[in-house]
Structures are given as structure tokens and as C-alpha cells.
């Protein structure tokens, strides 16, 4: 998967589609799939809200120009084919014909133009950033859209899947100036294989098959029900008693997932997260004592047993990681990494060197720990980290925060150690840069940003250069140097590569077909009934 090959993308597109379509047995049409969405999203309009629950449901209703295979090659969705000029400056997408919106109006390049020129930049910060790399966006005819970039940007193709580049219906927004609060946002009109039948707030969201879907014969399923169940035990019971057929990571505790996976007729898969590439982060506030000293940061890295985190806290679901890149990332270079194995003695020595000698009660420093307020699992991790740090003489107090408080403190550098996890995405320029580029001022902007306040001029230089580096080899060299510096400086600790298991009844097929996993549009999902 090298950028140069993408000029042959047309053939690629077809091949990918063909691979996805060969099955050993015939799909059956019809049937109902029951899933859980938790928590209930405020909206299922992916253009406006792309957090987990909203994109889980919205990805069945809306579509992007492309999707991604598990190997992260682009595959056609609303774009039948595309071409990237050899100099990497021009991206031409040939749009599919005969596609209609759920309200019957035809889909044309006007919709794509509207989405990328007006809608997305107004409501989605990252889209605004990435699209600002484009010098111009034009639609020479009804079924073509062309992006001309200012400089080569290999990561550009990554934003065109449904959550990064949602295609919105232009005809519903005529005359609208404020897209965030537009009433049209409540209408949920997309081009996807399913449309909204009923949203019974607090109970369930019901999607039905779009009979006019452009991929004839699909979707196979007739109905999708997303159940709203606030309590984890009730969710577990719902699966056990057959009320729901699929459980995603986060629906129930990881050890419950293992237990349920052992039941008859139930399968488990770790696939489906190849595009999002989640990594657990432990941010160390570089702008404050004591973590402004690299030795103290390294000490923390030695003090934490990341194997324990994977095995005990995450129930065995997770992979070891020693640097900023996910294992499937192209540019990962483990040979240059500084590795920090679990070694509390080394940690203590480093703390001594940094001048943090043990005081009364053996306490070298007292800090505040900002937990991730997403549930019991993360609370346990915070408690473990508190314990591990205590063992080397750093007394940690866990702060009580809710999501808003956590977000605020993290982004305004108001913490000592903070827990987080981030979807690092497949291209570093899109997923990683914001985490390591120097932030001027007091606000990191987003929880995926440089909330640890790390600042290294060479790293800034490398990241910006690499984002626009079209030549694969040079790019790889740049990123190797990046990993070398960053693992030495350890501005934050990469706790583990997250694995999100999905558990489902084996009558359900093709649940995690693409790199988007359960966030795919489910056109290919079928049930054996």
C-alpha cells in the first residue's frame, strides 16, 4: 500500500469490490438485526456529530465517497473511481450515477461540493483543517469533483470515508447560513442502504431497508434495531437472552465479553478497527513540574506495568506498544524505539537523579491524576496507575471529573497526569500531527491534540515536512526519525494498542467486512434465517 500505486486506483477499486463480494455460500435476504447503542446519541446525523454512538448508527444512513478495506486500501462508495495525479496535487473523483437521496432527489456533484466547501468546514474542525490544504474544489460536471491541493498531501485521501467526509444533501440546506443549528439536521436524509423508520427516544432507533439503494440487491437485511439500555448488566442479559445479536466493545465489560464469547453459537472477532487505530494514552503535563523533566517522564514509563493493564484491566484485549504508531501503520519502525520495560527500580533511580528524593513517608512528589470518565474500566486503570506510582514514591490523587470537566482540564493543560485514548487513524498527518505539534497559547483545541504541551522544534519540522512528502521512502525516513525522538522524550506514555472485540451470534455474517468494522454501512451484512 504505497501512495504511488494509487494512480492505478480504478483497478484497485474494482478488485477490492470483487474480493469483498466472493463468498463461500449464498447470502440470504431479509431478517432483522438487533444491536445496542450506548449511550443514546443526541443525533444520528454523522455530518454534525461523529462520536462513537452517532457514527455507529449514522454510518448506515449516510455515505462518503469511499470506504476502506481491512488493509486500508480505499474502496468505492459514492465515488465509483478516482485518480490522483502523479505530482499528488490533483484528486479527481468520478461519482456514481443513479443514486438517490432517501427523499427521492438525485445525488449529484452539487451535494459533494456543498459538503466539502460549505457544510463540513463549518461544523467539523478537522475537516476545516484538512480541506484548507486544498487550493480549490470544483465540480466540472454533475458527476465529477476535483480537489487541487497547494502541496502534496498523501493523507488527503483518508478523510473521504463517511465520518470524515460525510456527503450531505445540498437541497435541504438552501438559504441556510448556520449549519450547526439548521433544522434540516434533524431530517436524517442520506444515500445509505438504510433509512430511519422510527426513533423512540430512550428505547430504540429503528432503521429500515432503503429499497432504492444504488447497490442493487442490497442491503440484505430488512430492519436494524439499535436498543438503548443504560445499564451494563442489562446489556449483558439482553445478549444472553437473545434480545440482541451483537455486542461491541464498551457495551459490556471485557471479561463479560470473554464469557459470552464462550457460549454456543457465539463468535468473537477483534477485526474492524484497522481504520481508527485506537491507542491508550497517559498524558504527562510537560508544561508543569515534575513532568517537565524528561527523566521523571521516563521514570513513570518504567513504573507502569503495561502488561498488567492489558491482561488484568482490559481482560487480555490489547497489544503491547512502545511508540506513537499502531502496529498496522505503514511507517512504524520499532528498531529506533527507546523501550521502557516494567522496572520500578530503574524508575526510582531516575527519580533520584532528577532530584526527587523520598521525603517523609517515602513520598517524592504529589500529583493529581485525571481519569477518563467513561466508565468503570477506565476508573480501574486510574486506580492501578495510582497504585503503581505510589510504589515508586509518587503520590497520586484521582480527581473527580465528568466528561466536560475532563475535556476542559485536559485541553487547558490543567492537570498532572491524564488518561485518554485516541483514534490515531491510518495516516499520521491526519491522526498524529495534532498530538505532537507545538501548541502556542493555552488551549490545545481538542482532546486528541497536544494536551501534554510537548514542544520540540525538530519534531515540528519533521511532521510538517512528512505530511507533504509524496515520496514513500523519504516519508518513511522522516517518520523513523520522529519515532526515535519521541520515544526518547516520552512526552506521553502509550499504554497499549487497544483492541475492541465484537461478539456476535454466528447467524450474523459480514459484520466486520471492512476497515471500518461495525461503523460500515452494513449493506453486506446478512443473517442466516
Amino acid at each position: 500500500m504505497f501512495p504511488g500505486h494509487w494512480t492505478k486506483s480504478f483497478a484497485f477499486g474494482l478488485a477490492a469490490l470483487a474480493c469483498a463480494s466472493t463468498f463461500a455460500y449464498a447470502q440470504k435476504s431479509g431478517g432483522t438485526l438487533n444491536l445496542i447503542v450506548q449511550p443514546e446519541p443526541p443525533t444520528i446525523n454523522v455530518g454534525v456529530n461523529r462520536l462513537g454512538p452517532a457514527s455507529f448508527i449514522g454510518s448506515k444512513i449516510y455515505e462518503g465517497l469511499i470506504s476502506f478495506t481491512p488493509k486500508l486500501e480505499p474502496r468505492p462508495e459514492l465515488a465509483e473511481s478516482w485518480a490522483i495525479s502523479p505530482d499528488g496535487l490533483t484528486y479527481t473523483f468520478n461519482l456514481r450515477r443513479g443514486v438517490t437521496w432517501h427523499d427521492g432527489k438525485p445525488f449529484t456533484s452539487a451535494d459533494a461540493l456543498f459538503s466539502f466547501q460549505k457544510f463540513l468546514p463549518a461544523v467539523f474542525f478537522r475537516a476545516k483543517l484538512v480541506l484548507s490544504e486544498a487550493e480549490s474544489i470544483t465540480a466540472p460536471d454533475d458527476y465529477t469533483i476535483v480537489f487541487k491541493l497547494k502541496a502534496p498531501f498523501p493523507g488527503f485521501i483518508q478523510i473521504f470515508e463517511v465520518t470524515g467526509g460525510t456527503i450531505m444533501p445540498a437541497h435541504l440546506y438552501e438559504g441556510v447560513t448556520d449549519y450547526r443549528t439548521a433544522p434540516a439536521n434533524q431530517q436524517f436524509i442520506g444515500t445509505g442502504p438504510f433509512k430511519v423508520a422510527e426513533w423512540k427516544r430512550g428505547s430504540y432507533i429503528h432503521l429500515v431497508k432503503n429499497d432504492a439503494y444504488w447497490d442493487k440487491g442490497k442491503p440484505y437485511l430488512n430492519d436494524l434495531y439499535f436498543h438503548v439500555i443504560p445499564d451494563a448488566n442489562s446489556r449483558s442479559i439482553a445478549f444472553e437472552t437473545g434480545k440482541v445479536d451483537v455486542l461491541r466493545a464498551g457495551d459490556v465489560e471485557n471479561f463479560d465479553i470473554s464469557r459470552l464469547a464462550n457460549e454456543k453459537g457465539v463468535e468473537l472477532t477483534e477485526a474492524g478497527w484497522e481504520f481508527l487505530q485506537p491507542i491508550g494514552y497517559l498524558h504527562l503535563n510537560n508544561r508543569r513540574k515534575p513532568f517537565d523533566d524528561v527523566r521523571v517522564r521516563q521514570a513513570v514509563a518504567y513504573a507502569i506495568d503495561r502488561k498488567f493493564i492489558i491482561e488484568t484491566i482490559f481482560g487480555g484485549f490489547g497489544r503491547e506498544i512502545n511508540g506513537p504508531f499502531y502496529s498496522t501503520k505503514l511507517y512504524r519502525d520499532t528498531s529506533v524505539e527507546t523501550k521502557y520495560e516494567f522496572n520500578p527500580e530503574k524508575a526510582k533511580k531516575l527519580l533520584d537523579e532528577a532530584g526527587l528524593k523520598p521525603g517523609p513517608g517515602g513520598v517524592r512528589a504529589e500529583i493529581e491524576l485525571l481519569p477518563l470518565p467513561y466508565g468503570e474500566l477506565w476508573q480501574r486503570q486510574a486506580e492501578y496507575v495510582r497504585d503503581a506510582l505510589g510504589a515508586v514514591g509518587i503520590k497520586a490523587n484521582i480527581a473527580s471529573v465528568d466528561v466536560a470537566g475532563w475535556f476542559q482540564r485536559l485541553t487547558t493543560f490543567n492537570y498532572d497526569i491524564g488518561h485518554n485514548f485516541v483514534y490515531t487513524l491510518s495516516d499520521p498527518a491526519i491522526g498524529i500531527n495534532q498530538t505532537y505539534l507545538t501548541v502556542k497559547g493555552d488551549n490545545a483545541g481538542t482532546s486528541g491534540g497536544n494536551v501534554q504541551g510537548y514542544s520540540n522544534a525538530e519534531v515540528d519540522d519533521i511532521l510538517i515536512k512528512a505530511a507533504h512528502q509524496n515520496d514513500a521512502e523519504s516519508r518513511a525516513k522522516l517518520y523513523s526519525r520522529f519515532q526515535e525522538i519521541v520515544t526518547r522524550d516520552v512526552p506521553l506514555i502509550w499504554t497499549h494498542e487497544m483492541v475492541f472485540p465484537t461478539v456476535f451470534r454466528n447467524k450474523v455474517h459480514n459484520l466486520t467486512l471492512t476497515g471500518l468494522g461495525t461503523n460500515e454501512n452494513f449493506a453486506d451484512v446478512w443473517i442466516d434465517h
Binding site: 443526541p42 461523529r50 450547526r180 442489562s234 444472553e240 437472552t241 466536560a404
Partner: protein, 330 residues
């Protein structure tokens, strides 16, 4: 006599409105004092918090005005029953509340009715022979249910009746796929209502059992009952006309106190049973800093309490001739 009662009720109504206003002001102030900017939450959800973005969100929701100004605007819109828009959902709050309130009222009113139907007779029964075996058994058992944390009872009930026995559904208000309207849906809802309502009712039974028991004991020992017995009136008549009628007064008081719990008290049951009610909605609104919505839920709850109190006072004034213009009993 009637005009005195009507006057009494009229002044109660005025007082209720004043209290309602106070509730609004207090809650508004309390919530505005809360740390954490609703605009930040929204910005966070939309992927970033660059200053211009956040400022625009604040302007959209009028959060950039001074607090007294915001309060004034809020009260004025409340007067026209315009509850505004929810921060998160961008939908009219009246619509959101309208979707979830009936479910909660169905749950809590059913639980209240069941606990009254069980608690009052059992309490009267226990009071007939205080401290004997039946009384001890009834009080001890009902106290036991009152002592169990609601989520504990709920989870145990689900495990027993749903998972092991498979008699009742484990969560939700409806089975998906059942067509709306008609007998099928009604029966489906009732079937789902059973466990949560019973869990909540078991908790409240203890209260009404004890109150009735105490009131009945007190009345039985009073002079006019002893006189009635001495004059040879049939026992049943004494019970109906004298004992129960007087004992019901404190029960009415307690039941009207219950009104305050009709909405907020169901949070835990709604969480455990995934009952799509307004208690759980309020909790979610709090966590998401959706203050508009939370305020409106407080307001709705206060209105319901006012209504209940007025009803209870009317009932009281009607039932007990001794109450006229004196200070209202506790």
C-alpha cells in the same frame, strides 16, 4: 363554610406560584454556577474547541449574556411555556420531555397505587393487634424491603425473574417490532411494567404500612372510638366511618409528599430496567451539561408537585372538617 375553603385554596394557589418561581430562580442560579461550560462540551463533541467555534456556540445559546439577563429571558419564556431548545439535541425541550414524561408517570403512579393498595390494608391489619406475631412479621418484612438499595433489589429481581425463570422481560418498556397502538402494545407495556413497578412499590409499601399502622393505632385508642364501641356500634361501621377515615389523613399527607419523588426518585429504577423515563433523562442531561433540559425537568417536576399538593389539600379540606383556616398540618 365553602367560601372559607375556597379562600384557603386560593391562597394556597398563590403560594404555589411563588414557590414555583423560587424553584426556577434557585435551580437556574445553581446550574449556572456549575463549573464546565456547556459550549465546551458541544465543541468537544464536534471535534475541537478552537476559540472562534466555542464563541459562536455560546452566542447561539445566549450564554454570552450576563446571568441576570439570562435569568430574565428564561423566566419570560417560561411564562409562555416555551422551554427552549436542548443544547445537545437542538430540539424543543417540550418535545423531549413530552416523549419521556409519560413513561415515568406510568411507572411511579403505578408503583404508588400498588404500594397504597398493599400498604394500607396491611397496615390496618397490623394495627389491630399491635406487637403480636402478625404485626411483628409484617413490620419486619416491610422494613427489610425498605432497607434494600433499589438497584440491588432491581438487579436481583431481573436475575430471578428474567434470566432464571424467563417470566418477565429484563429491560425496556416495549418489545421492538410490536406495532404501535392497540391491545398488543398495551399488553406488551404492562408486561414490561411489572418488574420495575413492583421493585419500586416494594420500597414504598413499608412507608404506607407504617404510617397507616401508626395512625390506626392512634385513632383506635382515642376517646370517641372507645365511646363508639361502648355504645355498641357494629365494629365494621366503626372501622369504616371513624378509624379509617381519620387514619387516612396522614396517609394523604405522605402520599402528597411522594409527589416530589414521582420524577426524581425513579432514576435508579429507570437505569437498571432501561425504562425510558424522565428521571434517567435528567441524569444524562446533568452529565452532558445540558442545563436547559435539566432546568426544565426540575420545573416540570415542581409543577406536578404543586398540582399534587393542591389536590391533597383539597382532599384534606374536604375529608377533615376540623381543618379550616388554621395553620396547615405538617
Amino acid at each position: 363554610m365553602w367560601s372559607v375553603r375556597l379562600q384557603f385554596l386560593f391562597w394556597r394557589l398563590i403560594k404555589s406560584v411563588v414557590v414555583l418561581l423560587a424553584v426556577v430562580v434557585l435551580n437556574f442560579t445553581v446550574l449556572r454556577l456549575a463549573p464546565g461550560d456547556p459550549a465546551l462540551v458541544l465543541a468537544g463533541e464536534q471535534g475541537a474547541a478552537d476559540a472562534a467555534f466555542v464563541d459562536q456556540i455560546r452566542a447561539d445559546f445566549g450564554l454570552d449574556r450576563s446571568i441576570p439577563e439570562q435569568l430574565g429571558i428564561y423566566i419570560r419564556s417560561l411564562a409562555t411555556f416555551d422551554l427552549g431548545l436542548s443544547f445537545r439535541e437542538q430540539r424543543p425541550i417540550s418535545q423531549i420531555i413530552g416523549e419521556r414524561l409519560p413513561a415515568t408517570l406510568l411507572l411511579t403512579l403505578t408503583a404508588l397505587a400498588v404500594s397504597l393498595l398493599i400498604g394500607i390494608p396491611l397496615g390496618a391489619l397490623a394495627a389491630r393487634r399491635p406487637h403480636r406475631a402478625l404485626d411483628v412479621a409484617l413490620t419486619t418484612i416491610s422494613t427489610a424491603f425498605f432497607a434494600m438499595p433499589l438497584f440491588w433489589t432491581g438487579l436481583l429481581a431481573i436475575i430471578l425473574f428474567s434470566v432464571w425463570l424467563n417470566w418477565l422481560p429484563s429491560y425496556g418498556m416495549v418489545t421492538v417490532g410490536i406495532p404501535a397502538g392497540g391491545l398488543a402494545e398495551l399488553l406488551d407495556v404492562l408486561w414490561h411494567l411489572t418488574l420495575p413497578a413492583l421493585t419500586l412499590a416494594l420500597f414504598y409499601v413499608a412507608i404506607y404500612l407504617r404510617v397507616t399502622r401508626a395512625a390506626v393505632i392512634e385513632v383506635i385508642g382515642s376517646d370517641f372510638v372507645r365511646t363508639a364501641r361502648a355504645t355498641g356500634l357494629p365494629a365494621a361501621r366503626i372501622w369504616r366511618q371513624h378509624i379509617l377515615r381519620n387514619a387516612l389523613l396522614p396517609v394523604i399527607t405522605f402520599a402528597s409528599l411522594q409527589a416530589g419523588h414521582l420524577i426524581g426518585g425513579s432514576i435508579i429504577v429507570e437505569t437498571v430496567f432501561a425504562w425510558p423515563g424522565i428521571g434517567r433523562l435528567a441524569f444524562d442531561a446533568l452529565l452532558q451539561r445540558d442545563y436547559n433540559l435539566l432546568l426544565s425537568i426540575f420545573f416540570a417536576s415542581s409543577v406536578i408537585v404543586m398540582v399534587f399538593n393542591l389536590l391533597a389539600d383539597s382532599l384534606y379540606a374536604f375529608v377533615d372538617p376540623r381543618i379550616d383556616a388554621g395553620p396547615a398540618p405538617a
